[in-house]
């Protein structure tokens, strides 16, 4: 009865001594336990803590709410009519977000909502310490979701030989020849950093959070401008 047990997994005297040796070695080495509540952990930028909402980017398209497996995203919106920009022009309608909430007591952090959002309105933030005493407080409304936005780390640098991001390339294309139209001056775009580039956040001494917040405010055109440009 004991012989098959002996053979499997190397028990017996050598195994016993090995156990003693292992514990003795651990005794002699300093422990490298993460002292979490006292020392903040350094998380990789891709950590999934909480979901941040960049409200200006959200078009209330409802894709995220429909794809969410838990149905824990609540969106209310209404349409507003924008009067025509030019006389005789057409009136336009746009969505205005009334409510955007994620119930983190239901969310399973699958990240699908972030994947499907066509307008980069949702982002992973590594912040994970948002536990509450009352489960109802885990329902984050849009102001709370927006507050997570500054904690979102900047996107990773592009590959060294990668193509220009499409929107940057488009904005820098020369106007088509022969056109009577003169290209209008457009606002400068913030170009994502590239591997090997001088890191903008490092150069200015800003923390990644501040850089992300600054970038978040700099890039998105407001729906007003977007609507006006098309006319």
């Amino acid at each position: 009865m004991s012989s098959p047990a002996r053979k499997s997994g190397g028990t017996g005297i050598p195994g016993i001594l090995k156990g003693l040796a292992t514990t003795a070695r651990t005794l002699a080495t300093p422990s490298h336990t993460a002292e979490y509540p006292d020392v903040a952990p350094s998380l990789p930028p891709r950590s999934r803590g909480v979901i941040a909402l960049l409200e200006e980017n959200c078009t209330s398209c409802m894709l995220c709410a429909r794809e969410c497996p838990d149905w824990c995203i609540y969106i209310d919106s209404h349409k507003e009519t924008i009067p025509a920009a030019t006389p005789g022009g057409r009136e336009r309608q746009r969505n205005v977000l009334d409510r955007f909430a994620i119930d983190f007591s239901l969310c399973m952090y699958c990240g699908i909502c972030i994947e499907v959002c066509p307008f980069d309105a949702l982002h992973w933030s590594p912040e994970f310490e948002y536990s509450e005493l009352d489960i109802r407080d885990l329902l984050h409304e849009k102001d709370r979701l927006g507050q997570w936005m500054p904690t979102v780390p900047p996107p990773p640098a592009l590959d060294e030989h990668s193509a220009e991001p499409a929107e940057v390339a488009a904005s820098q294309k020369p106007a088509r020849g022969g056109s009577r139209l003169v290209p209008r001056e457009r606002p400068a775009r913030v170009r994502p950093a590239r591997v090997g580039d001088e890191s903008p956040s490092g150069a200015t001494g800003a923390t990644p959070r501040e850089a992300a917040a600054a970038e978040a405010q700099a890039t998105p055109p407001t729906p007003d401008e977007a609507g006006g440009d098309q006319a």
Partner: protein, 318 residues
């Protein structure tokens, strides 16, 4: 021996009995924490978590003292004392050096073995009187284990007594020579294993198995009474370690043994206690059948062989 001297010696033993187990307990906290790379036991208090034991003590004192309604009240309440006192008595006759010993009785080796065996009665009483089937099971498992391991332990000590030609611990330590380290090694291993099993320490803590059968015979105990059982375990480590040091490591033999003999015994005892703690960290718990197998198929034959070797050697050399 005058009455005053008797009182002084009794107080001395009592002080040692109250301090040494706590010292072992503290050492266990820290050694285990280091061996497992844990920081928890290093937290309470400032330096190295020195206040952990104090906090534990305060916690035990605060707890309500519960006696189950169906329990045999007198036996239930008496059991922790029965488990604890034998080790106090045993501590009184263990010599730290030829002069530093509370009571120098003639056959002290036999006396210590007999007295420490009484401790099992406390566990049995606790298991029986708790009116709880887990406790009863734990108590019976403990009884089965302690009876099995009593025999190899006595045989191992018998071998040393035979070699020294004395039944007194002082006489044995006097007769000790460094060569005994090799010659009595099988007996020493048997004694150490049996001692750990007697104390129901891992890997032989199957009757208690805190994570499996709700702390065996001590299931119904709370607060201070529970603490007494724990204290009995640590007092047991102290007694067994000192006994091992005196029997197999030569007790007070060492540099300046005339003046510092007692310190040598204490140091050797401390090393043995750390080894006992070490075994707890390194090895998994034995199953009931493995436990009995080890006692009857390994330890008893080993102890008998040691006894035979010692007998032949003594006859040949005398």
């Amino acid at each position: 021996m005058t009455a005053v001297e008797v009182v002084l010696r009794a107080v001395g033993v009592l002080a040692a009995f109250l301090v040494l187990p706590l010292l072992v307990g503290q050492a266990e906290h820290k050694v285990m924490a280091h061996m497992q790379g844990r920081l928890g036991p290093m937290y309470a208090g400032g330096f190295h978590g020195w206040a952990q034991l104090v906090a534990d003590g305060v916690k035990f004192v605060q707890k309500e003292d519960i006696t189950p309604a169906a329990a045999d009240r007198r036996v239930f309440r008496f059991a922790p004392a029965v488990a604890l006192v034998p080790y106090l008595v045993a501590l009184a006759v263990i010599p730290l050096s030829p002069s530093v010993v509370a009571a120098d009785v003639p056959a002290s080796a036999v006396f210590v073995l007999a007295v420490t065996a009484v401790g099992i009665l406390g566990t049995l009483m606790a298991g029986w009187a708790s009116a709880n089937k887990y406790s009863l099971l734990g108590g019976m498992r403990a009884a089965a284990q302690l009876l099995s391991y009593e025999l190899p332990m006595v045989l191992a000590v018998a071998s040393v007594c035979l070699a020294a030609g004395s039944l007194s611990l002082g006489g044995i330590a006097d007769a000790w020579r460094p060569a005994w380290l090799l010659w009595q090694l099988p007996g020493a291993v048997v004694f150490l294993v049996a001692a750990v099993a007697e104390l129901q320490r891992p890997p032989f803590d199957m009757p208690v198995a805190d994570s499996e059968i709700v702390f065996g015979a001590y299931t119904e105990y709370t607060g201070l009474r529970f603490a007494f059982f724990l204290l009995a375990e640590y007092a047991g480590i102290v007694v067994m370690s000192l006994l091992f040091a005196v029997l197999y490591l030569g007790g007070w033999h060492g540099l300046f043994s005339d003046q510092l003999g007692w310190l040598w015994t204490m140091l050797k005892g401390l090393v043995v206690a750390v080894v006992v703690i070490w075994l707890r960290v390194a090895w998994p718990r034995l199953r009931e059948d493995q436990l009995q197998r080890l006692a009857w198929l390994v330890l008893v034959p080993l102890a008998l062989a040691q006894l035979a070797i010692t007998g032949v050697w003594v006859v040949v050399t005398s």
